[in-house]
């Protein structure tokens, strides 16, 4: 009996924590009589969410769409560059310092540039999502390829395998767990990118909605927007976590461990 309860607790720990936090939040807000324009209670956020359901959904779809497009571009670019960096030492030497430098620039700094080039709206949001999320994909794919066991490479080469053969038969399958691990990171980063861009330079999307709501002191709506972003992030993360489990089951059984 006690054992089962523990199992139950572990399985539902995350839900229970959320419920407890919501309760605490509600009690704090109601107990201290915090004004709603500063810090709305969960019930206020909820009712704002219900009231404004349609505009919220419209903006959420916009954000979801820009994020996915930016993420898709990031995956393609990340995989291609990752293969190049992981396969050719010269590309690695040439590109890596540049990429690391690029990655240390806060991506919000690119938004004004993108606005000048493309105007406000969807395009800069997609590009920001892309810029912020391709790096982990690139690094993980490159790592997966570059950490190929030298002996395995010897086995392949002594069979007369070409570089392409080695990549197809060994390198890419071996990099797959690294790749899927990076997708989880990249998708959440992509949301960060698109929302940042929308808050600065758009008239669409959750980021814009929150910006507009905060300038009219509608804090309940701001919080509703935050929660919507959070939910979308969790759902996509779980989707890729599931795919990772589904497609790279072997990686969790064998001796190969996976870095994120």
């Amino acid at each position: 009996m006690a054992f089962n309860r523990r199992k139950f607790m572990i399985r539902n720990a995350s839900w229970m924590l959320i419920v407890v936090l919501l309760l605490l939040w509600e009690i704090l807000c109601v107990g201290l009589e915090v004004p709603e324009y500063l810090f709305p209670a969960p019930t206020a956020v909820w009712s704002a969410g219900i009231d404004r359901w349609e505009p919220i959904m419209m903006h959420a779809w916009q954000t979801f769409f820009t994020t996915l497009v930016g993420f898709a571009i990031a995956v393609v670019v990340g995989v291609v560059l990752g293969i190049a960096v992981g396969t050719y030492p010269i590309v690695y030497k040439a590109l890596y310092p540049l990429l690391v430098g690029f990655n240390s620039i806060p991506k919000v700094a690119f938004v004004p540039v993108l606005v000048v080039w493309f105007g406000i709206g969807t395009v800069p949001a997609i590009l920001t999502a892309f810029l912020i999320s391709f790096f982990p994909v690139l690094v993980n794919v490159a790592t997966g390829l570059a950490t190929l066991e030298p002996e395995l490479e010897d086995v392949m080469r002594s069979l007369g395998a070409s570089k392409l053969d080695i990549l197809r038969k060994v390198g890419l399958p071996r990099a797959l767990p690294y790749f899927f691990a990076s997708l989880k990171v990249a998708i959440t980063l992509a949301f960060v990118g698109s929302v940042i861009s929308e808050t600065v330079a758009s008239n669409m999307g959750i980021g814009y909605l929150m910006m507009a709501a905060s300038s009219s002191m509608d804090m309940a709506l701001v919080f509703a927007g935050l929660i919507v972003i959070g939910v979308m992030g969790v759902v996509m993360y779980e989707l890729f976590a599931w795919m990772e489990k589904r497609f790279t089951r072997w990686a969790n059984r064998g001796s190969n461990s996976v870095a994120v």
């Binding site: 395995l152 086995v155 392949m156 002594s158 069979l159 007369g160 071996r174 797959l176």
Partner: protein, 259 residues
């Protein structure tokens, strides 16, 4: 007929750096089974890389089948101390990997897949892994993985098999079992073998000729023919003749240590 020939081969991994092996000359007949023993770091693995063309000599010449080696050879089987099986492939798929790369199998793969699969299954059964074809490497014990690894090295019928301490990580019983398995495979369908090992009994049991290398930079110190009759059995390893062969080699190794 000479199959592999080394002529005063030296190799330094870095230009102007220390030599890994120095002035190695040897020759291996077709279908001869040679073993290379020597202290750790003396250049045994380096020697294997030279034979297979994965490294090029800094000076000297390596010939394979009368032709000088330049670049990786096309049809060599290799197995190492770690089995290096691909964890996303089953035993059968792992064993069939070379057939997807080496010609003429590669271009016939689509048409003759069934036939090749039968070939692989037969070899797998031959090494005592029947029933494990569809298991993944992590479901196999270390000894079973090593058997699969040797199957993978032999499936495409290479003329040359390179073994770098293939039994090094196994327990004594499994190791001796695999000696017999390897000897049987080799006698059924002869191929040339270069075996690197730390185990002098293993070298004497399996090899026609044993080469002893010196501490790095490795040189060939002794070439010793093992003239014990074949097939050799595990009982033979307790005979006087076998023991004296091992002793002679041990004395040579001991002499290197004292230097």
């Amino acid at each position: 007929m000479e199959f592999v020939t080394f002529e005063k081969v030296s190799l330094a991994y870095e230009e102007g750096g220390p030599l890994a092996i120095r002035d190695v000359s040897l020759s291996v007949r077709k279908n001869e089974f040679i073993a290379v023993v020597g202290p750790s770091g003396c250049g045994k693995s380096t020697l294997m890389k030279l034979v297979s063309g994965l490294s090029n000599p800094t000076s000297g010449y390596v010939y394979l089948n009368g032709r000088e080696i330049s670049g990786p050879q096309k049809c060599i089987g290799m197995a190492f101390q770690a089995s290096n099986l691909l964890p996303w492939r089953t035993t059968l798929q792992n064993v069939m990997l070379p057939l997807e790369i080496v010609q003429p199998y590669r271009s016939q793969m689509r048409k003759k897949r069934k036939e090749f699969e039968e070939m692989a299954r037969a070899l797998i059964a031959r090494v005592g892994l029947a029933g494990w074809e569809d298991k993944y490497p992590w479901e196999l014990s270390g000894g079973m993985q090593q058997r699969a690894s040797i199957c993978r090295a032999l499936i495409h019928k290479p003329e040359l098999l390179m073994l770098d301490e293939p039994f090094g990580a196994l327990d004594a019983f499994t190791r001796e079992e695999l000696w017999c398995m390897l000897q049987d495979l080799w006698r059924e369908q002869p191929f040339t073998v270069v075996l690197v090992t730390h185990d002098l009994r293993e070298a004497v049991f399996l090899a026609d000729t044993v080469y002893v290398m010196s501490k790095g930079p490795g040189e060939i110190l002794v070439r010793r023919e093992v003239d014990l009759p074949r097939p050799r059995t595990l009982e033979d390893t307790y005979t006087e003749g076998f023991a004296s062969q091992v002793h002679v080699l041990r004395d040579h190794i001991g002499a290197i240590r004292k230097h």
